[in-house]
Amino acid sequence: MGSGTGIGRVRGLGSAKHGAMHWWRQRVTAVGNLLLATWFVVSLFRLPSLDHATVVGWIGSPLVAVPLVLLTISVFYHLRLGLQVVMEDYVHEEGGKVFFILLLNFYAIGGAALAIFSILKIAFGGVPA
């Protein structure tokens, strides 16, 4: 791997050696989102109502709770990757860039944790008689 010219560094995929990983994971989570979000939206439309009892009863099923957890992981991972690129492109000042990407990571991980804990709390809450 060259270290002098720009092209030499690009050929070596940069200092971290996995230059294409971010791009690839963006695509993997995009396909995940496509399948899981379609399932999610169609399922919501098929519910007789969206009141508390109906929603909690629906999420309580393992066949709903598990895809809902997977949807949360896929969506929040995808948005973390996507917004990181947006920040890298538009926030030019180094300190601000670090700050916003830090904030983004806290939001993505914190938000996903809250959502997943809530799904599991409902799902583990009990088995309907």
């Binding site: 496509l34 969206l50 508390h52 909690v56 969506v75 917004l83 809250l114 799904i119």
Partner: protein, 135 residues
């Protein structure tokens, strides 16, 4: 690493005449950022409220079914399909297809027409039944 100032810079936004492919590109980012914040927070709120109990869920439900809630939902529906159709176009371009000028332009326009049509198809019956219920 320092940039060699002698090398030419790629012409940027102020140079190019705007075309559909540029609009779709920036819409993909804008809808992505919009959904990441608005739909992301809404999704968290919905689940946390449901896990906290009927009273907390009522608070969410009241906002979600207010006129403001519907307005946000309509906006998110459009953003979702714009981002989705644009993503499908990206998948095609990822394998190296669809770069011919005419194909590229047509596909870009199709994502925007498609997202508006699907949003209308989904919301027209819902809004019609809401209007009926309000009478």
């Amino acid at each position: 690493m320092s940039r060699n100032p002698g090398r030419p810079l790629s012409p940027h936004l102020t140079i190019w005449r705007w075309g559909p492919h540029m609009v779709v590109s920036i819409l993909h980012r804008a809808t992505g950022v919009g959904m990441a914040i608005v739909a992301g927070l809404g999704f968290i709120w919905w689940l946390v409220a449901a896990a906290m109990g009927a009273e907390a869920y009522d608070g969410f439900y009241k906002v979600a079914t207010s006129w403001f809630g519907y307005l946000v939902a309509i906006g998110l529906t459009w953003a979702f399909f714009q981002h989705l159709f644009s993503a499908l176009r990206h998948f095609v371009m990822d394998v190296g297809a669809g770069y011919e000028l005419k194909t590229n332009k047509t596909a870009a326009i199709a994502t925007m027409v498609g997202s508006v049509i699907v949003t209308l198809l989904i919301w027209a019956p819902i809004l019609a039944s809401l209007a009926k219920g309000a009478e």
